[in-house]
Symmetry: C2
Subunit: 356 residues, 2 copies
């Protein structure tokens, strides 16, 4: 019923993005079945070098995957961790002492010159360098001491979807390998992801809510915070709605003034300690009469204005972000379609590619 | 002419914020004259312990000051540095190996329980702990091994202004002390800051541009990037305009799709390598017909639609952020007044303070 009768099936707006979103269960399964042994071997070789500090380098969607890895490194592996400010190397020529530092560079294409330059500089400064990319033949993979292929297959849509979830899963298996875990919590993900992606009708109903929205706020805490940032990026680059993302704690330090019943809020409530830490923020939002939509367990959705219930029973908190982003990718897609735009053709991004 | 004849002088909207903004030259001078020797002594004691990694912990406005310090640490001192994800400690109970790590916690009040808990945990995990606060008698100062007082005097306005510039200058002098520099580049700041703050008329003219804006984008690169983030926070918490901030590099990775002639852009063009690295982004914005306002050198303002020219001749790039934020604080104030709101009374923030 939602197809436009006059459009040919292969020219529908957003067909590239929707096709790649649909591949995600198969990509996750491929990583678990084909990629995991090599990721574990790489992790063991790195762990044997006993790094003491971790730096993560990335941009755009991959930067949100890097932030997820930061939580994993700190919580599961117990190593201090930072995100690189790349310009300190590429613009200012900073030369840091990076002995005992593991530098992980995350990039879909592995081709961005600043990431390559930054990784080369890190290696020269004594770092153990690891590239996590979707292209084993990329310049970034070539200059890094170690490489992990996220096995997502070619990604053609400008809004990255399957490479994001592939990066998350590969980074989870990496950190599990670094700390000597077995990564078993990820095994349920391919089937659960398929179940989520089948629920397009629910997402379309949510999208109607945002068709005329002029701004949105996304919030979460802990492992779900990268989901809030990635969802905001996805919404902005497809629908152009200004979408602001904050950790729940930071939201109370100022931006809450902006939230009221004309600024809808989407909260990603990860089931576990992150979701517990978000409760005071959710109470404040409900108290202000905010239009609160929740992505999380059914019990949390029931206390909000609307939402999308995720399967969380038996799903470890640290892997829930790999499911959380799926309805939000679908939401970005559906909102963009509802606003009469094409998710495959963001206004400015094609030009960026041209001038690179 | 702009004063409301019927209002008593002491009940004007925004009088608390404007009074504190006006104190900034005196605060900067106080830090240079009274604070600098103790900051240098603290820095020398920390440097003698030879930390190898630095973590910065903060929230809200102080988090933007921490980001400025991250650039200083990496570029001037050459140490790898990260910003703390506080929930990994406070929500997840992560216990990291923090030997050889300097943990700097930046907080205006020094009273936030999560900052205190996080700093205590860091000290227990072996870190060298330093608190940078505006309250030497605060719980945070008490639990930290070292303390630096930013000497800004009591701050009463909800939007922080003088404590931000005070934190920046104290952190600059700290990093200068850590690396054995003399901090001489800061000496010009009090007089230059006074000159900037006297130019209210220019800022009021700029504010008219944003009176009906529904969203804004702020961008910069390098040392100016924390200025973009802090200006966005200030605009949001006073005027409630959704203000998005991006490093110039990240802006090209998606959010640029959102920028057009109805999304005004403010670029902070620091004179030096950061501003040079921003040039391709400025060219793209001009090419898209964006409404581009520049805060930076006169030559950069002349190539934009409008702007506010800063004195940059003879001002080292790394201290320019201490001047850059001033016209943007004033802009947040003037836009809020122009929209008929009170910068001293953001809608939700007072309640946050009540429930803390």
């Amino acid at each position: 019923m939602s197809a436009t009768p006059t459009a040919r099936p292969d020219s529908r707006p957003g067909r590239i993005m929707s096709g790649e979103m649909a591949e995600q269960p198969a990509v996750l399964r491929r990583i678990l079945e084909e990629g995991a042994p090599r990721i574990r071997e790489t992790a063991e070789r790195i762990a044997a070098r006993a790094p003491r500090f971790v730096l993560l380098t990335a941009r755009g969607t991959s930067d949100n995957a890097a932030l997820y890895a930061k939580y994993l490194v700190e919580v599961l592996w117990g190593k201090p961790c930072g995100l690189t400010s790349m310009s300190t190397t590429t613009a200012y020529g900073a030369r840091q002492d990076l002995r005992d530092v593991l530098v992980i560079t995350v990039s879909q294409s592995g081709g961005s010159p600043d990431l390559v330059a930054s990784t080369e500089a890190a290696r020269a400064a004594g770092a153990i360098t690891l590239a996590v990319t979707n292209n084993a033949g990329s310049p970034l993979a070539a200059v890094s001491e170690f490489h992990i292929d996220v096995l997502a297959g070619p990604e053609k849509a400008l809004p990255a979807t399957k490479t994001y979830t592939a990066e998350l899963l590969a980074l989870y298996l990496l950190v599990e390998g670094l700390r000597g875990g077995d990564g078993a919590a990820a095994k349920v993900l391919p089937d659960l992801a398929r179940g989520v992606l089948e629920r397009q009708g629910e997402v379309r109903a949510l999208a109607a809510r945002y068709r005329f929205a002029e701004r949105m706020v996304l919030t979460s805490r802990g492992f779900g915070y990268p989901t809030a940032k990635e969802a905001a990026l996805k919404l902005m680059e497809t629908s152009y709605i200004p979408a602001l993302s904050y950790s729940g704690a930071d939201l109370l330090h100022g931006p809450l003034a902006m939230v009221d019943n004309i600024s809808p809020v989407i909260a990603i409530v990860t089931e576990g300690r992150g979701g517990e830490a978000l409760q005071p923020v959710l109470e404040r939002l409900r108290g202000r009469g905010a239009d609160l939509v929740v992505i999380g367990a059914q019990s949390e959705v029931d206390r909000a204005c609307a939402g999308f219930a995720l399967p969380t029973g038996g799903v470890a908190e640290e892997v829930q972000p790999i499911l959380e982003i799926l309805p939000l990718q679908m939401l970005a897609y559906e909102v963009t379609i509802a606003r009469g735009q094409d998710p495959d053709a963001p206004r400015a991004l094609a030009k960026v590619t041209e001038t690179r």
